[in-house]
Amino acid sequence: MTHEQALDLAAAYVLGALEAADMAAVRDHLATCPESHVEFERLGGVVPYLLEWPDIELVEPPASLGDRIMAAAAADLATRGAGAEPAPQRTIAFPSAPEREARARTRTGRLGWAMRIAAVVAIVALGGWNLLLQNELGAARRFDQAVASVISAAAQPGSQTVVMTPTENNQASGIAAIRPDGSVVLAMHDLPATKGTEVYETWVIVGSAAPVPVGDFKVDANGIATFTTRPTQAPPGAIVAVSREPRPGSTAPVGPIVSTGVGVSPST
């Protein structure tokens, strides 16, 4: 692209109103051309003001959106610990409660495979213990069986394990395995019982892509869920989240996310 051609596209470029190929060509030109690009600056300097376009109606987003974002960010923090992305590390004097929780998960992510198995066993024991305290032996056995199927799925080559931890103000936790085909085997406890048309939906989130619904389930008063989802694309580091939805068939989480975890493969 010549300098003159780039200048001709300057106004559309600063507004992002070019085809992708032209955007890229102008970008490359700006990065390499030694000539002055004052035209881009004088036009581009105006563009941020457009964000205050007067007829934009100010609308408050639904409260659940903030919960979703915070849950995804917390899960992302845990992923960084698993080595998926280097996190900027500086000392922080007073970590907040959610942050401490996230960091605890980060440490889990750094544990070796054997340690993770030990952690899983501890969680399993804890889950069973709580249930026994509630004198629900049948439920405890169901949960143990669910955990056994998760562990057997996790033991397959190419599987990932997921420690599911509750989001703020929730208790739902458990473990899951993501099988090589991307289906998720879940064992959860302390899920509030579903009422009416309510379901729990399982979501798989990859990178910054939108959550993919992979299957819903109902929970009775004992709070136990054992469930296997549909297969989906779930590379290492995929996030598994469980949300409480008003009815089946949500294509994006509508209800609150109650529990999340990050897939970790034994090799990482």
């Binding site: 941020p48 408050e60 910054s208």
Partner: protein, 209 residues
């Protein structure tokens, strides 16, 4: 060229800008409560812009989530002096929203999916003349200096996510005319907002009718 501190006509960073920068530093540090602060401050503007562009509430929510997660992951890449945190953040929202509506349109050539929003946003690199203090009344006045067709062309480009070719087709206007409407419209706004059009060239003030 601008020196990067980039203030025009005595525009200075407001105390709110400084507070935002402090919050963003903590976001870069991986502090979730800082992200919550940032979200609380800008969720309404972010969602409103996303909704304006997508005209689709669930999609707008996805866009806002995507943008805040992008900010969460890339806060360390924010460069002071190239615009306020507010501008940076809302630009990510804008960029994601336009991306989302273009993806929804099957006929449009899709840009490559870029996972790191700020690096794909080369635009803020040339936006550093604005230090903050975006003001709705000011822009309303500035927009008043535009002709209807200039305003329409800029609006279709910036909020409709249309390319200049698509604007030409949509409005039944030659491409060259669309180009000059956008350019002259932006320059007219600049004169009102900044006090000059950044040019020695006094000509070409009129758009084609």
């Amino acid at each position: 060229m601008n020196d990067g501190s980039g203030r025009v006509s005595g525009r200075v960073a407001s105390p709110a800008d400084d507070a935002d920068r402090a919050v963003l530093l903590r976001v870069a540090d991986g502090q979730l409560d800082a992200l919550q602060d940032l979200y609380d401050t800008y969720r309404t503007m972010a969602y409103s812009i996303a909704l304006r562009i997508t005209a689709d509430a669930p999609l707008a929510e996805d866009v806002v989530q995507d943008a805040f997660l992008g900010a969460w992951r890339n806060a360390a890449r924010y460069v002071e002096g190239k615009g306020s945190v507010k501008t940076w953040l809302l630009s990510i929202v804008h960029h994601r929203a336009v991306d989302a509506v273009r993806r929804r349109r099957p006929t449009v050539e899709l840009p490559e999916r870029e996972d790191v929003p700020p690096s794909s946003l080369t635009l803020p690199d040339i936006w550093h003349e604005v230090a903050g203090n975006l003001d709705r009344e000011e822009i309303a006045v500035a927009l008043g200096s535009l002709s209807d067709v200039q305003r329409e062309a800029i609006e279709l480009a910036y909020f409709g996510g249309l390319t200049q070719q698509e604007i030409a087709a949509r409005t039944g206007t030659p491409l060259g005319t669309v180009k000059s409407r956008i350019r002259l419209g932006l320059l007219a706004m600049r004169r009102t907002l900044v006090g000059d059009d950044g040019s020695d060239d006094p000509g070409s003030e009129r758009s084609s009718p």
